[in-house]
Symmetry: C2
C-alpha cells in the first residue's frame, strides 16, 4: 500500500519514463485518508499472472463474470469496455478501439476498484474477451452446429466465456500497476484523482462562456466582434485568438504578428475594458523563425513537425526557454492558451506528427513522448501561471494519465454531437475535462441543442475559427462568409443568449463542484454508473450524466423531434424546469421544445442559481436564488474564494452551507479563512415541492 | 549477393521466425540468371543508416525525389505509396494504412529495384514523409505565414522535403533486407517472385468459372443447383461448398455433416459426372469435436478462436495431423479448399482472432504467427496435393511474403468494386493473386460490371454463400430467398453466360501467362507502372491493368454511364471488340454498353481465343482462333502440359509459338517434352488491322 487504499504491484523492471514519474502534483494524502477506509487489496494476488517476452510484458488480472469495466481513456465512441479490446494511443481521430485525445491507461470496475498501468507505451487492454486454452470452459460446446448466413451471425458466435483482464504492455521489461480501492467505483476514481494531485480548479471566469474568433482576425476584427457581442449582451468571459495572432503558425513562432496585431498591449487593454479575458492558440512545434528555435534545437526530438522543432518538455531547460517566451505573453495579460495538435495520428497513411522511433534528448522515444506530450506541454505553461499565483483555464487537444490537477480542457475536430456528449461521461472516469465545443450547426435546432450541451459542460465554448460572424447570426457558412445574416437572427440570438445566461446562473453551483473535484477527487461531470454501479441499467447509458451532485443532464439532439428516453436512477427526481416529480429506477420518454435542455434535480437537493452577469470580474458578487427540490434535506456546500489566485491552497477559501428546514433557508459559513470580498448574496429561496 | 541480382543486407541479429525461413519453395536460381544482368547494388550503401532501440530496429534507405514506391502489401485502397506511411498488418478490414489480407513487406521502386524486409513483425514503412532535424532542408521557409482556415489547408502544409525510406521493425534486434535489382521495376518484381520459388501455376480447370453455393446447402440443394447450371449451359468448372458441409463450423471439425452430406462419395461422384470440381470451405480453428482436436492441443497456440484451437502450422507434426485429416478429403476427390478467416482484426474493438502475445509451441508469438499464418496454412494443404502429384487451386483470406508459388487466391468481405479492381493491380507488385469475387449486385448493370471484372481476374468466382439462387436469376436478395426470379432473368442469364464464355475463351491465353509467372516471375496481372515505370502518367492509375503481355483491361463500374477515361501507354493499341486503333501516351474517354468490358490489345500482339467449353476436362482440347492485332509482329508463346499434375516440373511441358507473317499464321513447337494429348488446335487466324 503506497497511500490510503492504493496499492502498487511492480512487475519486472519498469521503464524510466512513465506518467507517475512525470506527475503534475504530489498526491493529496490527507484527502485520501479522509475517504472511506479500504484496507484490503480488492484483487486476489494469486489470480494475477505475468508473461515477459521480447514483445513486452503481459499481465493478467482476474475478473468476475458480472463485472463491467469503464475508463481506458476519454472515449468518444463507447462507454462500457466490457468484452472489448482497447489500445491506448493518443490520436486526433478518436475511434472505438482506444484511439483518443486522452488515452489514459486507467480503468474502473463496477466491483469498486481502479487500475492504473503506469506506462507511456501503447498499452492494450483485453477486457474479458480472450479464451485461453488452459481454461477448459473456453472450449464448452457451442449452442449450434448450424452454419450462419450473415457475417454478423458468424462473428457473434465468438464463444468467449473466460473473464480476465489481460494487459499487453509493449516494449517494456516491466511495469507498475497501481490498484485503487473503493469500496465504491466512485471512490476508486476519487482515489485515482487524489493520487494524481486532486482535481483542477478553474478561475471563476473560466466557467463563463468562451468565444473564439476567426483564424484570420486581426486586432480590428477581434475588437469589432468583441464590441458587437457586448452590444448584444451575450454573456462571454473569454475571447480566443486563433493562429492569426502569430507571426508564423504551422509551425508556431509564439510571437505576435506585426501586421495583424501591431500593438498587443493596446489590444489587450481594450479587450480587458470590455470584460474579456484573452486566450491564444498555439501548438508546440517551434518554427525556424521563432526566437527560441535555435536554443531549443539541441533540446528537441530528431524529427520536425510542420518544419518545426518538437521540444522535449520533460527537460527543465526546455521548459525554461519555452515557458520563458510565454511568460512575456502572460505578463501582457494573456489568460491562457489553446494547445492544438499535440496528439498523434496512429491510423493515418500520412501522419503529420513525429514518428514513434523519434529520439529525444531526455532519452524518451517517440512512442513514450506521444503519450506524455500533452501533459508535459500543459505542465510547461501551467507552471508559469502558478509561479505568478494566477489561475488559468485552457484548451488542449491531448492529455494522459495523472492529469486531473491540470486546468486544461480537451476538445476535438471530431464533430458528432452524440460523441461529444459521450466524452463528457468518459472523461469523468479518467481524470480529464472535456469541451463539446460548438463550431457550426446544420440547423437552428442543431445550434440550440449543441449550445445546450456546451453550457452543461466543463467549458462552454463557441469556436468560431472558420466563421466571421457568430453562428447565431448566420448558421450557413457560405452566407456567414458573405456577411448575410439570417432573417430571424435576433430571435435566434435571444435564445442563445438565454442559454448562455443559464450557464452564468450555474457558475456558483459548478464552481462548488470543481472545488469538490479538487478536495475529494470527485469528478464534476460523470456517468451515472459511477454513482449507481449496483444498477445494471446504468451500464449502457451513453447520453445522460451527472453535473455535480444534484443535476442529471439528458441532452437532446437535432433530428430527434425534441423527444428522448431518460432513465432516472433510484430515488425521486424533479424536472428542473417544471418541477414535475419522477420516481427513479424507471425510464421515461420526455419531450422538450428546441430552446430547453432536459435537466433533472435529485429530490432533496438545493441548487443555487445566480442572476446572470455578462462576465465575471474580480469584484463580481453573485446574487443567488436557491432552488429547493422536494424536502430539501441535502444541504449544499457553496465554495468561496478570491476566484483568481492559488491562495485557496493556503486555506484562503470558505465553505458556505445552504440548508433548508421547515422554517426556510439558512446560510452558514462552516469553515474557511477567506476574508476577501463576499462572492455570494442569497436573495431568495424557491421551493419546488412534489406535484 | 545471394542470387543473381539479389543482395542481402543483414542488420543486427535477425529474429528466428521470418518469411524467408518459412519459404514455400527454393529460389529458381537458373531463371534468375536468365534475367537481364544486374551486377551493382541499386542502393548506395553509405546512404543506409540503422537505429537499434528497445522498441526494435529502424533502417533508413536513401530515396530520390522523383522515385515512386509501389507494393507494401496487396492494398485495396491505394496504389502509389509515395509520401505515406504503411504498417504491414494482416487484417480482414483493409484500409489505406497498410492493413490488408496480404501485408507483404516488399516494395518496388520506379528506379528499378525492390526491397523485402524479412520479418514477421508489423513493420512500418515511411516512404519519404519524415523530416529529420539533421537535414537542414527540412526547415526551409514555408511558403506563407498566413493562417489556414480549413483543416485540409492546415494539414497539407506539412513541409516535408526530405526523401528517405524509413523502415520501423518493432521488437526485433535485427533484420535481413533483401535488395532485388532490376534494371527495371518489372525485373525487380520478377526477381522477388523467382527468389520466392516462382509463380503458381493453376490446373487448367482452375482458370474456368467458379460458383459457391449457399452456406446451408445440403447435398440435394447443391446437386439441384449444379444441375440447373448445367441445364442453362453456364460454363462453370468449380462448385464450392460453404460451412454447411461440415459437422461443425465456427470453429471447424473438418468432417462431413452426417445430416447434410450423409454420402460424400456419392455426392462427389454425381458432381464429377456433371463436370464439376468441388472445393470446400474451412477455417483453421479446430473445434473440440474434431477428431484431431486432442492431438493438436499441445501443438496449438495458448488462446482459442471461436472455441477452436489455433494450430501451429510451422511444426511438421501439426502439418502431419492436420494435413492427414485433409488427405482423406483429397482422396475423395476434393479439388481444393477455401481457407477463411486466417487474417486478423488489428483495428477492431472486438477482435475474434488470437492476441499478438499468444505463444505457440514453435516459439513464435502471436504477432509473428499472424503474419505467417496464412502462408503456413496454405503450405500445409498444398503439400498434400504435391505429394499426390495433383495440382490444386484455392481461395484464401490471408497471405504474406514469399507466397508466389502457392496456388491460393485472396478474397475479401470488403465489397467495393473499385477497391476490388485496385487489388488486381496491387497484388501484382507483391507476388500474390486476387479474386474480385461477385456476391451480390445493386443493379443489373452492377452485376454485369462485376462479372466483367471477375472474368478478367486470376479467379472468376461467383460466391453465392448467402443466396439460394444465382444472382443473375434474381439480384434482389429478399426475392432471391423467396424463390422469385426476375422477370427478365433469361435475358440477364444470357449476358452472364456470354461473359463466362469470354473467360473460357481466354483460358489458353491466361494459362500461358501463368506459365510465364512460374518460369520468369512476371505477374500475370499487373499495374501499368510496372510495364511503363518511365511514364509518370501511369503512377496514379488505379483502374487499368495488364492481363498477360497483350491485353490492357479497363473495367467499367455501375453508375458511371458506361463511360470512362482510359490512359493508353506508349505504342499503339486496338479496341479488342471493334478493332479501332488508338495511339498511345494519350487518354481517351471511351463508352461501352453494359454487356461489354473495355479491353485493348497491344499493337503487334497475337491473342489466341478458344471456342468456349462448359468445363475443362482432362481430355479437353481447345479450338483456337488467333486474333492478330496490327502487324502481328510479336509471336505468342502458348503453354501446353497435362494441365493437372506437376509433371511439368520434370520438363513435361511444351512451348508452342504462334507466329504471324505476311503469308499467314504459323504454329511451331519450340521446346518441351510433353507428349500427352494435344491441348490446342488452331482453327483460324483473324487479323485486326489498322482502320
Amino acid at each position: 500500500m503506497v497511500a490510503p487504499g492504493i496499492w502498487l504491484i511492480r512487475v519486472g523492471t519498469p521503464e524510466a519514463f512513465t506518467p507517475v514519474r512525470y506527475r503534475s502534483a504530489p498526491p493529496l494524502t490527507a484527502a485520501l485518508a479522509d475517504l472511506e477506509k479500504c484496507e484490503k487489496l480488492p484483487l486476489a494476488l494469486e489470480g494475477i499472472s505475468v508473461l515477459r517476452t521480447p514483445r513486452g510484458v503481459v499481465v493478467e488480472l482476474p475478473m468476475e463474470m458480472t463485472e463491467q469495466i469503464f475508463g481506458m481513456g476519454m472515449n468518444l465512441n463507447v462507454v462500457d469496455n466490457s468484452g472489448s479490446r482497447k489500445t491506448m494511443r493518443v490520436s486526433d481521430n478518436p475511434n472505438d478501439t482506444g484511439d483518443t485525445h486522452a488515452p489514459v491507461p486507467f480503468y474502473v470496475s463496477t466491483r469498486g476498484y481502479g487500475v492504473l498501468v503506469d506506462t507511456a507505451r501503447y498499452v492494450s487492454f483485453y477486457a474479458g474477451n480472450l479464451a485461453p486454452v488452459s481454461d477448459d470452459a473456453a472450449a464448452a460446446p457451442a449452442q449450434s452446429g448450424l452454419p450462419a448466413t450473415t457475417t454478423e451471425q458468424l462473428y457473434s458466435n465468438r464463444g468467449v466465456v473466460s473473464r480476465r483482464m489481460t494487459i499487453d504492455v509493449p516494449v517494456a521489461a516491466g511495469v507498475d500497476l497501481y490498484i485503487f480501492g473503493g469500496p465504491s467505483a466512485m471512490q476508486a476514481v476519487q482515489r485515482y484523482n487524489l493520487f494524481s494531485g486532486g482535481g483542477a480548479v478553474p478561475p471563476l471566469w473560466g466557467l463563463g462562456v468562451w468565444y473564439r474568433g476567426h483564424s484570420k482576425f486581426n486586432a480590428q476584427n477581434a475588437l469589432k466582434l468583441a464590441a458587437e457581442l457586448r452590444d448584444s449582451h451575450m454573456p462571454i468571459d473569454v475571447f480566443g485568438l486563433e493562429p492569426g495572432w502569430q507571426s508564423q503558425s504551422y509551425s508556431s513562432s509564439f510571437v505576435w504578428s506585426p501586421d495583424r496585431f501591431p500593438d498587443p498591449e493596446g489590444f489587450l487593454k481594450k479587450m480587458d475594458s470590455m470584460g474579456y479575458k484573452v486566450n491564444l492558440w498555439e501548438h508546440a512545434f517551434v518554427h525556424p523563425t521563432s526566437p527560441i528555435h535555435d536554443k531549443l534545437k539541441p533540446l528537441s526530438g530528431d524529427y520536425r513537425v510542420w518544419k518545426g522543432l518538437v521540444p522535449d518538455f520533460s527537460l527543465a531547460e526546455t521548459r525554461k526557454i519555452f515557458g520563458g517566451l510565454h511568460d512575456a505573453l502572460i505578463a501582457q495579460g494573456i489568460s491562457g492558451f489553446k494547445l492544438d495538435e499535440n496528439d498523434n495520428q496512429p491510423v493515418s497513411a500520412r501522419p503529420w506528427s513525429f514518428p514513434e522511433f523519434s529520439r529525444f534528448p531526455s532519452g524518451m522515444d517517440g512512442e513514450q513522448m506521444h503519450s506524455l506530450f500533452g501533459v508535459l506541454y500543459q505542465q510547461t505553461l501551467y507552471d508559469r501561471y502558478r509561479a505568478r499565483n494566477v489561475r488559468t483555464y485552457n484548451s488542449v487537444r491531448a492529455s494522459y494519465a495523472m492529469a486531473s490537477p491540470l486546468p486544461f480542457v480537451l476538445y476535438s475536430d471530431h464533430y458528432l454531437h452524440k460523441d461529444f456528449v459521450r466524452a463528457i461521461l468518459t472523461s469523468g472516469f479518467v481524470g480529464v475535462l472535456w469541451s463539446p465545443e460548438l463550431r457550426h450547426a446544420q440547423s437552428i435546432e442543431d445550434l440550440y441543442r449543441r449550445i445546450q450541451t456546451i453550457v452543461m459542460s466543463p467549458q462552454a465554448l463557441v469556436n468560431g475559427w472558420y466563421i466571421m460572424h457568430p453562428p447565431w447570426w448566420q448558421i450557413d457558412r457560405v452566407k456567414n462568409a458573405a456577411n448575410e445574416p439570417m432573417e430571424n437572427y435576433k430571435e435566434v440570438e435571444a435564445v442563445c443568449r438565454e442559454l448562455f445566461q443559464l450557464r452564468m446562473s450555474l457558475i456558483p453551483y459548478l464552481y462548488s463542484a470543481f472545488s469538490q473535484y479538487r478536495e475529494t477527487g470527485k469528478p464534476p461531470f460523470r456517468a451515472l454508473v459511477l454513482e449507481y454501479p449496483e444498477d445494471p441499467l446504468t451500464f449502457r447509458i451513453e447520453d445522460e450524466y451527472m453535473m455535480g451532485d444534484s443535476l442529471l443532464i439528458a441532452p437532446l439532439f437535432a433530428g430527434d423531434d425534441g423527444k428522448r428516453k431518460v432513465y432516472l436512477p433510484k430515488g425521486a427526481w424533479y424536472d428542473f424546469w417544471t418541477g414535475k416529480r419522477y420516481e427513479g429506477q424507471q425510464s421515461y420518454t420526455i419531450e422538450m421544445g428546441p430552446t430547453r435542455i432536459p435537466v433533472f434535480a435529485k429530490a432533496g437537493s438545493l441548487v443555487p442559481l445566480a442572476k446572470p452577469v455578462e462576465s465575471v470580474r474580480p469584484e463580481t458578487q453573485f446574487e443567488l436564488n436557491v432552488k429547493v427540490f422536494g424536502d430539501g434535506s441535502q444541504p449544499f456546500r457553496l465554495y468561496e474564494d478570491d476566484g483568481i489566485t492559488f491562495d485557496f491552497e493556503k486555506g484562503k477559501q470558505n465553505v458556505i452551507e445552504l440548508q433548508w428546514t421547515a422554517g426556510g433557508g439558512q446560510v452558514r459559513k462552516i469553515k474557511g479563512a477567506y476574508t476577501g470580498a463576499s462572492r455570494y448574496r442569497v436573495a431568495g429561496w424557491d421551493r419546488v415541492a412534489a406535484q
